[in-house]
Symmetry: C2
Subunit: 345 residues, 2 copies
């Protein structure tokens, strides 16, 4: 797989052919190529599995930023709307380069604020039709930044000797947002998360689980978005190669973590009450993503591709004033028994 | 009306009695009382007129912040849900005091960042059921801030001589967001806006019209929220009394600007296509308010009352990927003929 010199890789996705030319850096000969290949393959595997389960087809939209835009790069947005099982299921790959990392993206690395960067990732949010099937979110990504003041920061030319090694890290995770809580689903999902991480260190799951609880929290409601999962960012402490393996383990575990839950719940009968509750709970998803999610904000405010960023939005959502759930109802149990932080395993 | 000394004012709103004790400052003997009385009266007039037109009743929710909360104060939220004409119509009065103005609220007055403040206002957003009736937003508000470093900044006690005059200003405006554009409605609405401002200076309407166009703009879509109206902030250039009169003129003009449009459009027949377009366009409203609106963000992130702030959210909203309107359709005309900036009068 690793090659020296300039490498051209071609991917065929449906009828669209995408290729990528890279001039590998000395420090990691072809890491960006291998990460890109992994991510595009992961997207295809997920889309194929979900499409087969649902019976509906994903629209495939391969895009490329225009030369005059601030962000440069390309991506593939795939989305299934109006499916039998999934009312809206978006799964996007993107690979962008920008002139300056915003402060929001360098929370833990202020020294990289304003540095030229490159980011690639797969991000998905699935909104099922049946209110008993939980919403799911998964993301795996890699970022590179070239610290300002280093010789290569403002130029891609130059000899290998004068070019600084960019700083790189991984991020991602997955989390579940049920409208109706089922303890066995939460336990199974968290077990998959844990199993994906344990080979890389026993302490990772509890750390990333807590991070997820803290990140996916609606401060203005004092309410978690869902029953959590795992979340990590700025991760390279195992070294780049091993950290990449960990990210792959998370990505690879997604289908096994989520599809069994879909299988179990998607035929469960429901009525207007459950549907109304689902539309109302989806409002919380919108509030989190548009008010608090750093990735969404960064994307929308920095010139990202709006329709691809907002594939996380639900197909249909409602708001109503001070909705109160009857005590003892399954709707109330979501708030009392599932959203408060719990150790599921 | 003006009185000297300590004043107690009692308002009865439905079955709820609210009162307000004030120790007037020397510079404006009872301005805060008079502004509060005006705002509560305005809310009642609007709610009564809309309730009569719709036939449905507003829920009245009088609230008060708990002593342990960062923001202190009270308010009255009134909201009509599931009405014959209005699917969701919220109109809120609030009056809060906080220890420190956030930078977002002192954009044009950085010297007041972090200053103790008091704010009161009426804010409304109406979401009609019929897609041909436009969404409307109106807000009038007054803010006081006591500059840091002045003797009275951290205390309300002290003699009249040592107490600094707080800095005060007005803000507000109104704007219209149609799903289907009608030039005559846009012209009539803008004419009402202009008529409200002209007695206070011929240059105010064009200035506030432009400000509105700039403020209510979805940068991530390159799209205006609606056909505009007027918006102003940090306004005290006519002196406090005359500026208050201008704010009243804006508030007083609201019903006359909006209700004739509702009357004209609410019986216009529509079908599934128009309803789908309406739900989709409402998504833009959500995007603007949650991603860009400074007031919403400030409120949600600083401990404001979530359910009252989010009365602007539509009752039902949809998102779908890259919706394209047929060329020449009225849905397409909204984007080509109405949302781009225009001088309507």
């Amino acid at each position: 797989m690793p090659q020296s010199g300039r490498v051209k890789t071609v991917f065929e996705v449906g009828s669209v052919k995408l290729f990528f030319m890279s001039d590998p850096t000395p420090s990691s000969p072809d890491l960006n190529l291998r990460v890109r290949a992994y991510l595009m393959g992961l997207q295809q595997r997920i889309v194929a599995a979900v499409s087969e389960l649902d019976g509906g087809s994903f629209v495939l939209d391969a895009w490329r930023k225009e030369p005059h835009e601030t962000l440069q790069g390309d991506g593939i947005t795939q989305i299934l709307e109006g499916g039998a099982i999934f009312e809206r299921a978006g799964c996007g790959f993107s690979h962008v380069r920008g002139p300056a990392l915003p402060p929001s993206a360098t929370h833990n690395r202020p020294e990289l604020s304003g540095a030229p960067f490159e980011a690639m990732g797969v991000s998905l949010v699935f909104h099922p039709r049946n209110p008993y099937v939980p919403i799911v979110h998964m993301n795996v990504r890699m970022l590179w930044a070239t610290p300002l003041g280093s010789p290569g920061a403002s130029s891609t030319a130059g000899t290998a000797g004068s070019r600084p090694a960019p700083v790189a890290w991984f991020g991602g995770g997955m989390d579940l947002t049920p409208c109706y809580g089922f303890a066995e689903d939460a336990v199974a999902f968290h077990r998959s998360c844990k199993d994906a991480l344990t080979p890389f260190g026993a302490e990772l799951y509890p750390r990333f689980k807590q991070w997820c609880d803290e990140y996916f929290f609606l401060k203005h409601r004092g309410e978690a978005r869902g029953i959590g999962g795992i979340f990590f960012d700025d991760f390279c402490e195992l070294g780049l190669e091993r950290s990449f393996e960990m990210m792959q383990s998370v990505g690879d575990s997604f289908l096994g973590a989520y599809l069994p839950i879909v299988h179990k719940r998607h035929t469960q009968a429901y009525g207007e009450r459950e549907r109304a509750h689902q539309l109302y709970r989806r409002g919380r998803y919108v509030e989190f993503n548009l008010v608090w999610d750093r990735g969404t904000h960064f994307g929308l405010q920095s010139g990202g591709r709006t329709e691809s960023i907002l594939l996380s939005m639900p197909p249909l959502v409602s708001w109503s004033y001070q909705q109160v759930n009857p005590p003892g109802s399954p709707e109330a149990a979501l708030l009392t028994d599932f959203l408060p932080r719990r150790d599921w395993i």
